[in-house]
């Protein structure tokens, strides 16, 4: 296989693997956080506002690791730095 073919194949496989493995952790974490928040709201319904607000902020922070994986896989697929390197040189 030529260099370009190797890079393309590896980039595609790794983009899939990045998003697949990278979403496991945040998914588990977010599910856990939502479950705990629902439990807390069930115990203290009058604090639901505070809990929901904190939950959203926390979810966004947990989710950011998954977003990093998404961005990395997008970079691998669409703006792969090594692609132009080997194509030009």
């Amino acid at each position: 296989m030529s260099d370009l073919a190797v890079i393309g194949a590896v980039a595609m496989v790794m983009a899939g693997l990045t998003i697949a493995i990278g979403s496991i952790g945040p998914a588990l974490g977010e599910g856990w956080a939502v479950a705990r928040a629902l439990g807390a709201i069930a115990q203290q319904p009058d604090k639901a506002n505070v809990i929901t607000r904190t939950l959203f902020v926390g979810l966004a922070m947990v989710e950011s690791t998954a977003i990093y994986c998404l961005v990395v896989s997008m970079i691998l697929l669409f703006v792969n730095p090594f692609w132009n390197h080997f194509k030009g040189g």
Binding site: V50, R53, F56, V57, A60, M61, E63, S64, I67, Y68, L70, V71, M74, F78, V79
Partner: protein
């Protein structure tokens, strides 16, 4: 397929290159400023408020309430900065319902600029509220050993702010574009609605995180005090 509105060039003559990000940022800014100027030109104190003034007061009052609830402080010093961030991001994200509009927040340069504003605003607010010495001392707070981690944290949270907003908006747009080519009927509409919800949540999260960073830098003692009172409440 364009993953960033930076690459969509609308007008190019050699010294000036106008891409979609710049154009739509200015459109959004013009919309916000124009609406505010137009509404505040005819303010009234009569019991019969003009509807636009009423709406604007609701927005500002809502932001004030949120800031007061989150920081447990007077919202006035934070209102202009955090409120502007929130209104700009939410307007960008909501205007994606207009066909042909590319949200400037879907470009890493816009979100990096916004995150840099937060990065600069944190020491400014901190030094203004507690003085240079006490602000610098807060870096040594639990122990001086933590100093490198505090500094790394400053940078990494700026990066995280920028990439989080960019990733969410960009992935929403990209998903809609991919689904449009797979299942052109109805499914993209659902994803678009979901994208709008995420846009509102991300605007909220961005401004809340900016507020938390600024507030935690500007009043360490006060916050400890409030944490202890909250514990007493429970």
């Amino acid at each position: 397929m364009e993953i960033s509105p930076d690459n969509i060039v609308i007008y190019a003559r050699e010294p000036i290159v106008l891409n979609a990000t710049i154009l739509f940022t200015w459109i959004t800014m013009g919309l916000l400023v124009g609406l505010s100027v137009w509404v505040t030109r005819q303010l009234s104190l009569r019991p019969q408020l003009p509807p636009w003034q009423n709406g604007l007061e609701m927005v500002v009052d809502g932001i004030c309430t949120q800031i007061r609830e989150i920081t447990q402080q007077d919202p006035e010093p934070y209102l202009s900065f955090v409120g502007t961030l929130f209104l700009f991001i939410i307007t960008c994200n909501l205007l994606t319902v207009v066909p042909g509009y590319h949200a400037p927040t879907g470009s890493l340069s816009t979100t990096a600029a916004l995150a840099l504003c937060v990065f600069v605003a944190v020491p400014i607010f901190g030094i203004r509220q507690q003085g240079l010495g006490r602000y610098l001392k807060s870096y040594l707070e639990p122990t001086p050993i933590m100093l490198p981690f505090q500094i790394i944290g400053e940078f990494s949270r700026t990066l995280a702010l920028a990439v989080r907003l960019f990733g969410n908006i960009m992935s929403g747009n990209l998903l809609a574009a991919i689904l449009l080519s797979l299942v052109p009927l109805f499914v993209p509409i659902v994803m678009h609605v979901l994208g709008l919800v995420f846009g509102v949540i991300q605007a909220y999260v961005f401004s809340v995180l900016a507020l938390v960073y600024i507030a935690s830098a500007s009043s360490v003692q006060q916050q400890n005090h409030h944490v202890s009172t909250q514990e007493n409440d429970l």
